[in-house]
């Protein structure tokens, strides 16, 4: 690991001023990505500003029925919070199906959104990679791509966004609150916070250098009380998703009154399956409709020879998630 300097910030404005003043500075929160990639020579900050003492750790129920999560709340704390388990079970499930107990104690929610891709070409610090070294090319497209994305890809990058929690938060229409170097508060819709690779895969989010996530806000969503996170992977635990589905469903008299579906493991960003939702609203809650909706969502999928299985797997996962929600709900005619 290259030499670095270390500062510990005790107030947010000072931390932002310190990082924004120097392009070679980074915030340090849980460190589970930052330290790993520093050691592998993928990230090269010269200064780390430790923000773990900042007062951004609260997990609060909002009076309107929503949730506000401080950016430094740990994954384990958010997953365990009664308000999350009760109002947004898909989020607590997504969190607890991610990483390991140790990593969940370390990793912050803000950092979770900003975690870097698991593409082995990005992480080896040597292969051509447009994310790590813009303009050098993408090694994955012609290389080992079994875990890579089939949706939202470009000719410059096919790396999968690795977060589970972000998939649930995408379904929940979360907002990301930040504080900028000019002291201005900004709010991003969740879908706008994650950028598709298009022709600049190194730009993963719209924040400027030194801008800090302060909170994630989840609006009230009664449909989310009946929700789940389905994660399919090569081993049963402590593994990234091949395909995941964050789904919520409300059925009235056999008809779908409300539905939320997002996909993980298959796309270059947490993927809101809007075509699924548009197809299913007002439709009968039955398997044939779930399958047709899933087909429509994956129509534009672009697979490699190694990850073509994800196109089928994603459709089956969507159907299974929705069938599970239909099956255990009392409002549905089985």
């Amino acid at each position: 690991m290259r030499p670095i300097t270390y500062s510990r910030a005790i107030d947010t404005a000072t931390a932002i001023a310190a990082v924004s003043a120097d392009p070679t500075s980074d915030f340090l929160a849980g460190g589970t990505t930052e330290i790993d990639l520093l050691r592998q020579n993928v990230l090269h900050p010269r200064r780390l500003v430790d923000i773990n003492d900042l007062p951004l750790t609260q997990i609060e129920a909002t009076p309107e029925g929503g949730l506000r999560i401080g950016s430094l709340a740990r994954m384990s704390e958010v997953a365990a919070a009664p308000v999350v388990r009760e109002r947004f079970p898909m989020l607590s499930q997504a969190l607890e199906l991610g990483a390991s107990a140790q990593l969940r104690h370390m990793a912050s929610m803000g950092g979770n959104l900003l975690q870097r891709v698991r593409c082995s070409y990005y992480r080896d610090a040597e292969s051509p990679c447009n994310k790590r070294e813009p303009g050098t090319g993408c090694s994955a497209i012609e290389g080992f791509s079994r875990g890579h994305a089939v949706l939202g890809t470009s000719e410059h990058c096919i790396a999968t966004h690795p977060s589970d929690a972000a998939v649930a938060l995408m379904s929940l229409d979360a907002q990301v609150h930040t504080l900028g170097p000019d002291g201005g508060e900004r709010t991003y819709a969740f879908d706008d916070f994650f950028l598709l690779p298009v022709d600049s895969p190194h730009r993963e989010h719209p924040m400027e250098h030194g801008e800090l996530i302060t909170a994630i806000e989840v609006p009230a969503a009664p449909v989310a009380r009946h929700s789940l996170y389905l994660k399919i992977r090569d081993r049963e635990s402590y593994e990234f998703a091949l395909v995941s589905v964050a789904a919520a469903l409300s059925v009235v008299d056999g008809i779908i009154a409300d539905v939320r579906v997002s996909l993980g493991g298959v796309a270059t960003k947490p993927w809101r399956a809007r075509r699924v939702e548009d197809f299913l609203i007002g439709a009968a809650a039955q398997r044939s409709n779930f399958a047709q909706a899933a087909r429509v969502e994956l129509i534009d999928a672009r697979a490699t020879s190694m990850n073509a299985f994800k196109v089928e797997l994603a459709q089956r996962a969507i159907v299974r998630a929705l069938e599970t929600l239909t099956g255990d709900g009392s409002e549905s005619p089985a």
Binding site: T32, L38, N52, Y238
Partner: protein, 175 residues
């Protein structure tokens, strides 16, 4: 603040004290004892423990957060010391496998690992025990499926998993 203030100021607050990149004096509280050491800021908690404080219980398996052999507690939470910078632990309490016993009396999980033969080569064992003791405190040892899931961050290449689960069950059941 007045212009005469000795501390350099920016518009938005105090300039942060920047330490390093060379060796700096750091004080860590490890197993209830204040320890002073000189380390570069890039030094991990794992290397600080093993190379500077002669606490070699926590093991370096992968050094990239995938094996769990380096598991210790920081402020009572199990974490990976390989992905933790030592300096981030100033002002926090670090507990390692060396601090688990009460004097000559082994922690219940340590005793159970011996009684249940919960290791073979032993390399992952300190991490397994620190993780298992935390798991029991967290209340995630309800049944074998839950133990498996919540111990999945600790890999055992000898595959002593059934005996590790037996040790955890024994402590859970007060056997």
């Amino acid at each position: 603040m007045s212009a005469q203030s000795p501390a350099p100021l920016t518009e938005r607050g105090q300039v942060l004290e920047e330490r390093g990149p060379g060796p700096v004096a750091v004080t860590l509280s490890v197993n209830g004892v204040e320890r002073s050491l000189e380390i570069e800021p890039r030094v991990s908690l794992l290397d600080a423990l093993r190379e500077h404080l002669d606490l070699t219980g926590a093991k370096k398996g992968c050094d990239q957060g995938t094996c769990g052999a380096c598991t210790v507690w920081v402020d009572g939470h199990r974490v990976l010391s390989c992905l933790t910078l030592a300096m981030t632990c100033e002002g926090r309490e670090v507990t390692t496998i060396e601090g688990l016993a009460e004097g000559d009396e082994l922690h219940a999980v340590q005793q159970a690992f011996i009684a249940e033969d919960a290791f073979q080569c032993g390399y992952c064992t300190p991490g397994q025990i620190m993780s298992a003791a935390a798991l029991l405190k967290e209340g995630h040892a309800g049944d074998d499926a839950e133990i498996k899931e919540w111990m999945s961050g600790n890999i055992c290449r000898c595959a002593a998993y059934p005996h590790i689960r037996a040790a955890i069950r024994a402590v859970r059941d007060g056997a």
